[in-house]
Symmetry: C2
Subunit: 394 residues, 2 copies
């Protein structure tokens, strides 16, 4: 079932943040250049370029060839993919499939997003349409803080988690963002600051929510034969799990334990030989989709880091710091590293490749015991779910 092995052989990551200093193509180039240099290849060596970009807030609606031209990648084949907030992981999957199938030996995957080209209220409205546009956005005016507040209130009511537990996720992620110079918000916050910040959608306060970010990230994927020529430390894509859920949240049997994410984890972990219930015993580090603090806690449970209903205890006990049960979002996460939609999943791959290679920033490098890392990227309210297992072992 597997096709050829595929490895990450080069990575690049821009500064995330408010990036009105650059155009979309210039922003992409920051990561493309780093990735080419890291892999030790030139544009002529790349066979195909997959762009992850949502772009509805941006002046360049069809960006793939525009960036390709700017980055000196013409006449290489190119495509844009979109899966809402999981766009970056969808782009990685396409690049993976292309190399695994033998259609190409070396492919670049670029995630890029300039969200701040539109005013923030417009962007919040546009993201709102990534839920169920027709019923939920037009009829009820739901936007994403509201959607995830549903999750948070349901979770708190059922399991007894508190607003402090949610804030503890934010405090951890800011702690690590302070050690990541690429982060949108590279500074620590205290629990008190989070608890005293203004309400956005109860129980969420300002610090429970990820920011609207611009940024880019890139990875170069290669076949086994090419990877072994280029690097001594290829980071293998061990498995990819993908699933979807209904776009109408009212059509789901339960708000919690999002079925799409759970199913994507089951698929990916089965292929990688990791038992879902105790997955944390096999994984060195994880990046999960903390667009809102509750989302990180839901991911703990869906990925098997905690049992259903016990995810908030990992946050309360500090078990997802380095040294705990399993380090999660030691990049700063979407919460504090930032969330430029099309780049986010690719940025997760860059972070995990650096962690597995032992090249993360000082103060946030995890101990590498198993050589295994996991990314969980989620689009919409759980509609698009991606789980990718990265490994030092092919």
């Amino acid at each position: 079932m597997a096709g050829r092995r595929v490895a990450i052989v080069g990575v690049g990551h821009s500064k995330y943040g408010y990036r009105n200093d650059v155009s979309l193509a210039e922003l992409a180039w920051e990561s493309i250049k780093q990735a080419l240099d890291d892999a030790g290849v030139g544009q002529e060596d790349i066979e195909f370029v997959v762009y992850g970009n949502v772009g509805v807030w941006s002046s360049e609606p069809l960006p793939a060839v525009v960036i390709n031209e700017y980055a000196g990648l013409t006449p290489k084949g190119t495509i844009r993919v979109e899966a809402a907030c999981a766009t970056g992981s969808a782009a990685i999957k396409h690049g993976y499939d292309m190399v695994a199938s033998g259609q190409a030996d070396i492919v670049m995957v670029v995630g890029v997003e300039k969200m701040n080209e539109s005013p923030t209220p417009i962007v919040v409205e546009l993201i709102g349409r990534a839920g169920n546009y027709f019923w939920e956005f037009e009829n009820f005016g739901l936007t994403f803080p509201g959607y995830y507040a549903f999750y948070a209130t349901a979770y708190m009511a059922r399991y007894g988690a508190t607003e402090e537990d949610l804030c503890r996720v934010a405090v951890k992620n800011h702690y690590y963002a302070a050690r990541n110079p690429k982060a949108h918000f590279p500074r620590e916050i205290t629990l008190e600051q989070c608890m005293q910040s203004r309400y956005i959608a109860w129980p969420f306060k300002l610090y429970d929510c990820s920011p609207i970010s611009d940024g880019s990230a890139a990875v170069i994927l290669a076949s086994e034969e090419v990877a072994k020529k280029l690097t001594d430390t290829p980071v293998w894509i061990k498995s990819i799990g993908v699933a979807s859920d209904t776009s109408n949240i009212s059509r789901r049997p339960d708000f919690l334990l999002r079925r799409g994410v759970r199913r994507a984890a089951e698929i990916a972990f089965k292929r990688a030989g990791i038992p879902l219930e105790e997955s944390y015993r096999y994984i060195d580090v994880a990046e999960v989709h903390d667009a809102f603090t509750i989302a990180e806690i839901l991911s703990y449970e869906e990925l098997g880091f905690a049992r259903p209903g016990e995810g908030y205890l990992l946050a309360r006990e500090g078990q997802t710091y380095i040294g705990g049960r399993i380090p999660v979002n030691v990049s700063g996460g979407l919460k504090a590293k930032g969330h430029p939609l099309g780049a986010t999943g690719v940025g997760m791959a860059v972070e995990l490749a650096n962690q597995l290679r032992g090249e993360a920033d000082r103060g946030r490098q995890v101990p590498v015991k198993h050589g295994v890392a996991v990314a969980n990227n989620v689009g919409g309210t759980g509609h698009y779910a991606y789980v990718i297992v990265y490994s030092l072992n092919p």
Copy 2:
């Protein structure tokens, strides 16, 4: 280099046209249902769904899971891809890579577009942005009739082709559209009608331009093992060539013989063992991207159906009707079958699969001698170029 073999095992195609009678999901379902029935499978058998959709004119900006839910395809993994007017072929490539790599045994590819949700002048402006947005659209106000008029005037000046030669492409494609009940304009026109129609952008008159269409098309792709269980007449995807060109047309060394299309043809034909210079001797039928009449003539030359500078003679001599050198666009083409962007490339695959299976409509079935058909789908002004070879022989 090839991975596993991949075949089309089921096809579906909606009526193209002004489809304000259905929602985007309903329009997609028309093709999904036909494709499932044609393949003899149910939603539960499909492992992944790739959607081709540009969608900037549509109220549903992130359509993949919305359609997935409507069509009973939740919780299957899903993604949207975009490559401007070549979006449908890009979607097929992604589905192909997924099956060829062994990541899935059976994948559905759906192209769908509802362009008439926005008023026509807005749609023309939005398509205009598929050129080079920043320099050419904002600064010079270029939209697509103007872009392709550049090609036409350059071609006429260099080679001596006439407005009548362009109109002959339109007359042929309307002739076949009249025999295709799925066509947007299922009626014949005369050369005089075309020549007397009003100018849109000289030398183009109304009948030189493809319409703004709504429509959908779907194909189900399967691995060799699964295909042989499902059907006696699998249509194999023999090869796919993809290339890009600069988005700035001013950065190209020559307007004619578009480099991206030529390169995509070279890649695809080489993999399929077809000599480019005399490709027409090996191919039963082709669908090419006649968004404007000149574009069909350019494709003749780029695909090796005629020598550079002689494509217009094929039109003048009627060599691309059934019975001539090589039948082209006997579906009616973008020109008269219609051009719903995300669906177009998938619709080409449906048409060619039907032709190779001997199941095209009466009056437009080509003789099948070689069992080989070719699709050429182009995005932007030649930025995105796809050439796909379909074959009855694995």
